[in-house]
Symmetry: C2
Subunit: 78 residues, 2 copies
């Protein structure tokens, strides 16, 4: 069974770079990738917060948050 990988972003240049290079470098044989734009999908903000996401871009792998560089704080997307 594949693990879940969720990439949270807000469309910023830092986010786009991280999505193209890091998120899409994941092994799709082992990870099912979902890309969530928190600026457009604000209903996903609580779930991201619960996973420990404090800024975007961030990748949640196996339930653990990994912030990749810094684009925007989660609180500024609300």
């Amino acid at each position: 069974m594949k693990s879940k990988a969720i990439f949270y972003h807000a469309g910023c240049p830092v986010c786009v770079s991280a999505e193209q290079h890091v998120a899409h470098a994941l092994d799709t044989a082992r990870y099912e990738l979902e890309v969530v734009h928190l600026g457009k999908q604000k209903n996903r903000l609580p779930e991201a917060e619960r996973a420990g996401v404090q800024s975007v871009p961030a990748l949640v792998l196996d339930g653990n948050p990994y912030h990749i560089n810094f684009g925007a704080a989660l609180k500024d997307l609300k």
Copy 2:
């Protein structure tokens, strides 16, 4: 031909988590992963700096630096 992925770390808990979850989630069919411990391999510090790495853990993919969470500043490893 595989792209080069270099994961720089310093053995810290944040680094270990990022290595296990992010670095080892990369698609090994497309990326050749090298893991560099900058605390032990100080001769690799200049190369990491040139790639734009400011803190560890960091992943350099296709020449671009992606800092993953924050473990230690590069200047504190010198």
